[in-house]
Symmetry: C2
């Protein structure tokens, strides 16, 4: 199969903050879109742009040559792929399935096996870069699957991201994303604790950021979310509850490998604390609330 706007119908399931931007780029590139989302109103802009609505993931799959999913939790991924009215049961043989949700590596392997048994091609391809990366089509995309399948879907991934790498067989994309989230968790701890010290020691945290944002402490998150922590701006780019989901997967996988990751465990505990105190729908910068 050769993918092109002229010949390829693309299904997109999951139109949250990230999914809306990503699907929008495909639509702008000229692809015929078939969409489904739990909350239909989130599809409005895409439908106005010509996308076709379907009532179930299975209907999307039946109308598409490539199906992309960007849903919330592993349970949603399982439901959308393996459930009744799901993708696997309804996609035509030869279709390509790309799960871009951050989900469990072991589930990616199960989906790949179920897909192969039906003559379908499946890849796991979670992303990093957040809402801003999705909006600007600058996502990093970490892919697990076969080299042949990766080569086929590459033109679609190129429209949504810019650092796109096959990391290994089924599940390798998810494992790579877990590495990413483990680093993010530690970096968030770092930013929250550094700024907490700044505040408590009587310094001006904004001035501190200007000093420490250019040297060895520099990170995407220090300079991106540090100012929001200082300003008390907790508007979500990436939800606390989604990040807890990711850390839960990473910690479970790490335990299964016999890896003890105390930094990740500490971050997860603090995020669960702030979520329990009402910050679940905040952005991840709400970690600073754990230090009040």
């Amino acid at each position: 199969m050769t993918i092109s706007p002229e010949s390829t119908r693309v299904g997109f399931i999951g139109l949250g903050i990230m999914g809306q931007s990503m699907a929008g780029h495909l639509q702008k590139a000229g692809y015929e879109l078939h969409v489904y989302n739990r909350t239909r109103s989130k599809a409005d802009a895409l439908l106005q742009g010509g996308a076709q609505w379907h009532d179930t993931p299975g209907e999307v799959a039946a109308s598409s040559d490539v199906v992309i999913t960007m849903v919330g939790y592993p349970a949603d991924v399982e439901d959308v792929y393996l459930g009744s009215d799901g993708i696997i049961d309804n996609a035509a043989a030869g279709s390509y399935l790309i799960d871009m949700t951050t989900s469990e590596p072991s589930l990616a392997v199960r989906i790949a096996e179920a897909a192969a048994a039906k003559g379908l091609h499946s890849l796991d391809a979670p992303v990093s870069g957040g809402d801003v990366g999705a909006k600007n089509a600058k996502l990093s995309i970490m892919v697990g699957g076969s080299e042949a399948d990766f080569a086929v879907v590459r033109p679609l991934l190129d429209i949504m991201g810019e650092n796109i790498r096959l990391q290994g067989g089924p599940g390798a994309g998810q494992h790579t994303k877990m590495c990413n989230q483990i680093v993010v968790a530690g970096n968030m701890l770092a930013v929250a604790e550094g700024l907490t010290y700044a505040r408590k020691s009587g310094l001006d945290p904004e001035e501190v950021l200007k000093s420490i944002g250019t040297g060895a402490a520099q990170s995407f998150l220090l300079n991106g979310l540090g100012p929001k922590m200082i300003a008390g701006d907790f508007a979500p780019g990436f939800f606390v509850h989604h990040f807890i989901k990711d850390m839960t997967i990473a910690l479970k996988e790490a335990e299964a490998m016999g890896a003890e990751l105390p930094g990740l465990r500490t971050a997860k505990g603090l995020y669960e604390k702030v979520a329990g105190e009402g910050a679940s729908e905040d952005g991840t910068q709400a970690l600073i609330k754990a230090y009040d």
Copy 2:
């Protein structure tokens, strides 16, 4: 006082990895240097360049208009400034004293008080950017002291760094450096744990770095020390034992402020573990050994 290579004699005490580079920049800029170091051989290059050797910190101070110190531990700072044959007792009234060691904020305050009592001007001005920043004169310099004193010594700081900020009164430079080191500690945890997961999950850590080094996980340390962790290259840019010193100060100060910083505490514990197993003179990337 107006500082210039023609009129200003600069004392430099502490010629380790950082100090040698920093003093070298001042020498290249034309300043007459007066130096002391515990191990004399580390002064060889500067002496060949025309610097004058002295046998004690006090002798350096007596021969200098500005004295810069870049020693190891707070105990060294205390000794060099407040000890017998020290700077405070031997500097001529009106001299400027700049401690660029990472040291205790409370000690910086004590030195500032002792200096003021003798008509000396003192600033704390620790740096970030590591050996590479020192070599390339791209250090971030965080200063505590008076605005007037900061303005006077600024020409010297400009020769050694490029992000130079007065953060407040005496001790504010050290407090800002503590913020920096707290962020560094979390970021190091992050890198070590992300790469440990990569290795244990069977991924190629170098490929993982290429995927995660551009998105939300991006940091100076991920891209700078991650490759060294993967390669098992533990040559020191910044010593483990110096970093433990910094984290010990930060944790003690945080406790005094009533701030609980579990990420910092976790990082310090892991560093103490690898130091106890022989990595004390390694670079800080040796944290990865804690996860073997």
